[in-house]
Symmetry: C2
Subunit: 362 residues, 2 copies
Amino acid sequence: MKYKIALLPGDGVGEEVIQQAKKCLEAVEEVFHHEFIFQIGVIGAKAINTYETALPKDTLRICKNSDAILVGTIGNHKFNNNPVAEVRPEHGLIQLRKELGLYANIRPLRIFPSLVDKSPLKADIIKGTDMLIFRELSSGIYYQNKEDATKAQSASDVCKYTEEEISRIAHLAFKAAKNRNNRVTLIDKANVLNSSKLWRKVVRDIAQSYPDVALEYQFVDHAAMKMIAAPNRYDVVLTENMFGDILADESSMISGAVNTLPSASVGEKQALFQPVHGPYTELKDKDLVNPVATILATAMLLEHFRLFEEAMAVREAVDKSIAKGIVTKDLDANSQYGTNHVGDFIANHILGHDDRINMNNE
Amino acid sequence: MKYKIALLPGDGVGEEVIQQAKKCLEAVEEVFHHEFIFQIGVIGAKAINTYETALPKDTLRICKNSDAILVGTIGNHKFNNNPVAEVRPEHGLIQLRKELGLYANIRPLRIFPSLVDKSPLKADIIKGTDMLIFRELSSGIYYQNKEDATKAQSASDVCKYTEEEISRIAHLAFKAAKNRNNRVTLIDKANVLNSSKLWRKVVRDIAQSYPDVALEYQFVDHAAMKMIAAPNRYDVVLTENMFGDILADESSMISGAVNTLPSASVGEKQALFQPVHGPYTELKDKDLVNPVATILATAMLLEHFRLFEEAMAVREAVDKSIAKGIVTKDLDANSQYGTNHVGDFIANHILGHDDRINMNNE
Ligand SMILES: CC(C)[C@H](C(=O)O)[C@@H](O)C(=O)O
Ligand SMILES: CC(C)[C@H](C(=O)O)[C@@H](O)C(=O)O
């Protein structure tokens, strides 16, 4: 089959991690006889520097014409401490989500047994953690007001949700739970917020159609505690945009290996995949950054194409690299391996997939 | 001196923990020759059952006439999963904050050396953690809209801040930092929210008046990670209402002993003190709940009265109880001590304060 994949490396280490992911996709191409057509687009700070916008028209066109989008990392410290910056690197991503109608951000949290000790949490606390977070991505407090806060003596933002916006992501979450451990935790602040009350009402009604799935409610402040105290109690987590932003990042710390975590952002037609970590500007071009998160983002991308065996080949190769200690320094301070070496190992392992399958069949 | 203290036990274990706190205040009264005049008010679910409102007029009157307010715990599971409940126990607290103009919630995070192992985080991660969180409490997304979400197909909330609202709590935070480690971390989402941009602008300007205090900025999603990865890097944390609700609770988990943590909510005239933990309805009347958080809330209350020696006597007594293992089962599963015994031990230790002082002087 033929697939068009947009590659948006972005800023910082984005270029390097995308290169490793591309190697792995090319290995999949070869082993499984697909054709991946890559198109490159600029986004983020790099785009601002040349085009004065974080999402140039060309990039948007490439994305709209593709079957899936793989993003590197976006952002630059230069913009962070400037409250009056009108254009910001991250706006490229936010705008892309809006333009493509990406309404669900999906964040799997998986613990690699050999990396358990990397977590700031104790091993017995994180043991068995296997969480899938559904964060609403198209609405809430992210997109409403456009006033210029820096000139006013007051500033406001509006958090708004419609039944339709809540219902479409809720269905995704319940469907996912059916294939997992049959539990959905809705996280909100229904004791204070109108929008949260609507979430509870809509989700409670939808739960009726999934009689096998248990629905529980948690207030966001309580959830922020429980995520640390007992992360392994969660199965599928469902929440709105801003709470999801906070809780997904909080939970990513639990793994102790945030640089292994991918995320997917899906809409009716399009889907975008990226690592959870940031641009690590200080690591740029040093062959130090961990490519695993971006490589696992390609596994999610392949699953989106319903290429399950292919995705499994990528995951197996990653598991192998981690189990064998072929990892970057962030996962093992004594490691001598760089970004490229880890990428090569994983790609080569995918290339060997055919042989191993044949051997097993003989 | 004479002080009027309103006691609002609230729901669940509130009554029991307030009793222990009162014992300690009475011990302080005796040792330091003050007069504390206690007045009791109902609030929360208990108030709803009798008065159909979570904050009866009488309770508000008592609070307005007092020099400080000590609250137990508020809430009842019965209300939590009902999205259409119009009156809720917590609204008593929210309304009280509004009526009394309590605009700053102050949450100290202190680790008891002998309780380090209770934390879900590793000992070397939490070592040295000493954080003071200033959460804006009077505004933001908490108080704006009054629409009935449950009847509409969409629902919204407004997060609004004025310069004045930001500035008054920012000054409190910077003043506190001057007496601590000279660092303020402002946590916001300035890459997305108008209100956060205003926070950055106002706080950046205020920082000029505190040249010894370093100001840093963090996005809330990043902060949710850092709180777990390196809690000991924070000194004073400053943030808006909703983010503060989430981050303060997240950080309370770090201590591993959330039942030892107090909080203060202060305004121009009034101040309210309470434990961080919830009503633990299932522990009610079992002599099992830990009274330490509420007792340490009285230490904050005494400091608010500028009774520093008195506050120190309470803190010392608590330290002693914990160091000696005179604790409830939540802190030591093998402990045989109940709520009352721990309260008595601490109160008696305060009563002995005089003798120890005299001994030291001899
Ligand atoms: C960069 C930022 C605007 C973005 C968000 O808040 O959604 C990021 O934190 C994320 O989670 O993808
Ligand atoms: C009970 C609830 C409304 C309250 C809040 O969100 O402020 C509580 O969580 C707190 O932090 O005091």
